[in-house]
């Protein structure tokens, strides 16, 4: 009896990484399940203008300007970068100016257009060490789960919630269920976190993780760099998850040491102990678990209009007849039509019109190096743009000579911003054009009205550029890595 009680209480105490993150942020819980959580970091960008207008309308101040950070990324030009006042497009200029005015009015630190640390919000946060294990991070952008790579609880919110966080530094949530996705064993050489996440989404579907907080685990995940983990967590939303995360380990600690906004010295070592203790307890229970063999992951690309329309490079455009259900079959047929493809067409033969390498999914230094490794000494058959994830990444890439490789291959080397991920700054794919892209969404019209997007890793995008069709990068890497 006593032993049973002991075991029950032990089971009760077993918590997941997510449980620990949740528990440490609870301000108060209401009977019906709504819980008020404390927010450690709130990132705002140009798109946050709706939220600033809301708090202005009620005459409310920003509760914690010291925990609020502005980053200019969604609308900033990537070509011919100038001071804000000289941005030629009036709408784009207006959006950047609005962010400058709003952050200034509320004494919020802004990583603006002219700041050497400017970049895409989900690249800048980790790079500066603003993103820490054990923190709760929100931003009015659905790819906020990127920060979960460091063991943070990070999620995207809408404009009204942004206004709420600005006014109160808290947010109401219902606790999602726990889900673990384990990628066991190792991936073959040349494969990346992008192939991993696209395979996961292809397997579980775009709503496979709805209602869940996902922890990525397993040997292949542990083997990823923090950058790779960011790519993995970034696309959690494409699987419907509320958030995605990886438990902090020595790789995380090494990444954080010495970053500008992290505590230093003995305080760092003490913090590191707390962070390492966040890992899920050995017997913690997950409501849902998916296991994938790393060795089975191939270079993966999307062929259709949903991130779950992803297949290994060796596959062919599917037939609607083989879709899981009638509704999915309708979607497959619509995708084949919109993408201008034929059922049964080998994916590796699909000709492309342009390439884009960038976005918070794949624009960190490691991503640029992977693309450059394929492109070095080769030329691109199609036009394309490479946009580094931050101004610091840009500088580092130039110091390493990567910019020369892209330029010599015939690609454009731009400044940092969201660019062709969402096209708000005017970087668009023309109607009917087919783009091999390192971004995260292949939705209809995402990269521009009528644009056709194929998602893949930076190395695969570089390979597509060299060959002019979607292609397997592995032969192009022979003797190079």
């Amino acid at each position: 009896m006593l032993k049973e009680l002991f075991l029950i209480s032990l089971a009760f105490m077993q918590r997941t990484l997510f449980d620990k993150l949740w528990d440490s942020h609870v301000v108060l819980a209401q009977e019906h399940g709504d819980t008020l959580l404390w927010v450690d970091r709130h990132f705002v960008h140009e798109g946050s203008h709706h939220a600033f207008a809301k708090i202005a309308g009620r005459g409310l101040p920003v509760a914690r300007p010291d925990l609020t950070f502005g980053v200019a990324d969604h609308y900033v030009p990537t070509r011919g970068r100038t001071a804000t006042a000289a941005i030629p497009d009036a709408i784009v200029r207006g959006m950047v100016e609005k962010l400058e005015a709003n952050t200034k009015r509320h004494s919020v630190r802004l990583y603006g257009l002219d700041d050497p640390r400017q970049g895409i919000v989900h690249v800048v946060g980790p790079e500066l060490g603003l993103t820490l294990p054990g923190t709760l991070i929100v931003c009015g952008d659905s790819h906020t789960a990127t920060h979960g790579a460091l063991g943070a609880y990070a999620f995207g919110i809408g404009a009204s919630e942004v206004a709420h966080v600005l006014a109160t530094q808290t947010i109401w949530q219902r606790k999602p269920r726990n889900m673990r996705i384990r990628v066991e064993g190792r991936m073959a050489p040349g494969l990346t976190a992008k192939d991993m996440i696209l395979s996961i989404i292809a397997r579980i579907g775009t709503d496979g993780a709805v209602g869940h907080a996902v922890e990525y685990a397993g040997e292949a995940v542990r083997g990823l760099s923090v950058e790779g983990r960011m790519t993995l967590c970034n696309m959690s939303i494409e699987a419907g998850a509320r958030t995605g995360m990886v438990a902090p380990d020595e790789t995380t600690i090494a990444y954080l040491r010495g970053r500008p906004c992290v505590v230093g010295g003995a305080a760092f070592e003490k913090a590191a102990e707390d962070w390492l203790a966040l890992a899920s307890d050995g017997d913690a229970a997950f409501d849902k678990e998916v296991v994938i063999e790393g060795a089975e992951i191939a270079p993966t690309v999307t062929w259709g209009i949903s991130p779950e329309h992803a297949l290994p490079i060796t596959a062919s455009v599917p037939s609607p007849d083989f879709a899981a259900d009638q509704a999915k079959a309708v979607n497959v047929a619509a995708a084949i039509n919109y993408m201008g493809l034929k059922e049964g067409q080998p994916i590796s033969s699909i000709p492309i019109d342009r390439v884009f390498s960038g976005s918070c999914t794949n624009s960190r230094i490691e991503d640029l190096r992977a693309a450059a490794a394929v492109l070095a000494g080769r030329t691109s058959k199609v036009p394309g743009l490479v946009s580094p994830g931050s101004s610091q990444v840009k500088l580092q890439a130039e110091q390493e000579g990567l910019d020369r490789i892209f330029l010599d291959a015939g690609l454009e080397w731009g400044a940092s911003g969201c660019s062709m991920c969402v096209g708000m700054n005017g970087d668009l794919v023309a109607s009917g054009e087919r783009c091999a892209s390192t971004t995260n969404r292949n939705f209809v019209g995402r990269q521009g009205q009528g644009a056709r997007t194929h998602l893949m890793s930076p190395a695969m995008v570089a390979a597509a550029a060299v060959v002019g069709t979607i292609t397997d990068v592995r032969p192009l890497l022979e003797g190079r890595t």
Partner: protein, 207 residues
């Protein structure tokens, strides 16, 4: 926020899965201030030709769906981007309720913030409702108090988080509600400063 209690209105079928927020409102319209209204942007690229004219082929533009305030859709409605503009477009168009088996989670939160009811039914119930609409059905009655949808035949129950239901029924504003808990928030901060000293950002040494 205006409370939501019951609604009897024309329902429009949008019989697709995974209707993402890029479809509901393309990104290029999102610099528009809300005061200008987002209704005109709803499903823009699916309803309009290149010159911006309505092609009248979209379900929402069929004459029998004129004045629709309810949408019935399939799984994962509103997946994708966090853009609240997707909800603005629906609400400004006149939609007050979307019925579907599941919703993108950020979308569902945004709907709640704007008094738009996101009602969850089973996949079979959604199919039945869609079939009835396809067969000429027009009006539905949604009762949030009772959590029912009726169509002349027997009512069906829908799902919604209890907290969301209360907020919609009462038209509660969550900022005002949260600010009333300022004591608890202060107490949390005091506890937390001791437990997680490292969580405060160090002033950026680079300037």
């Amino acid at each position: 926020m205006e409370p939501f209690t019951t609604l009897t209105a024309v329902a429009c079928p949008i019989p697709w899965v995974d209707v993402d927020t890029d479809r509901i409102v393309p990104a290029r319209f999102m610099s528009t201030p809300r005061s200008e209204g987002y209704g005109q942007f709803l499903f823009h690229d699916f309803r309009r030709t290149r010159d911006g004219k309505l092609s009248m082929t979209h379900p929402l533009d069929r004459p029998e769906r004129k004045g629709a305030q309810i949408i019935v859709a399939k799984r994962n409605f509103g997946c994708g981007s966090s853009r609240e503009a997707a909800v603005y477009a629906l609400v400004d168009f006149g939609i007050r309720c979307v019925i579907a088996p599941s919703f993108g989670e950020i979308f569902a939160g945004n709907a709640l913030s704007n008094g738009l009811l996101a009602a969850r039914v089973t996949e079979q119930q959604a199919e039945d409702l869609l079939d009835e609409l396809a067969a000429g059905g027009r009006d539905l009655t949604v009762d949030l108090e009772m959590r029912t949808i009726s169509n002349g035949r027997g009512p069906i129950r829908f799902d919604i988080d209890p907290a969301a239901r209360l907020r919609l029924l009462n038209g509660w504003d969550d900022v005002a509600m949260t600010l009333s808990f300022s004591e608890q928030i202060a107490a949390f901060q005091a506890r937390d400063a001791a437990a997680r000293g490292w969580a405060r950002p160090v002033a950026d040494r680079g300037g």
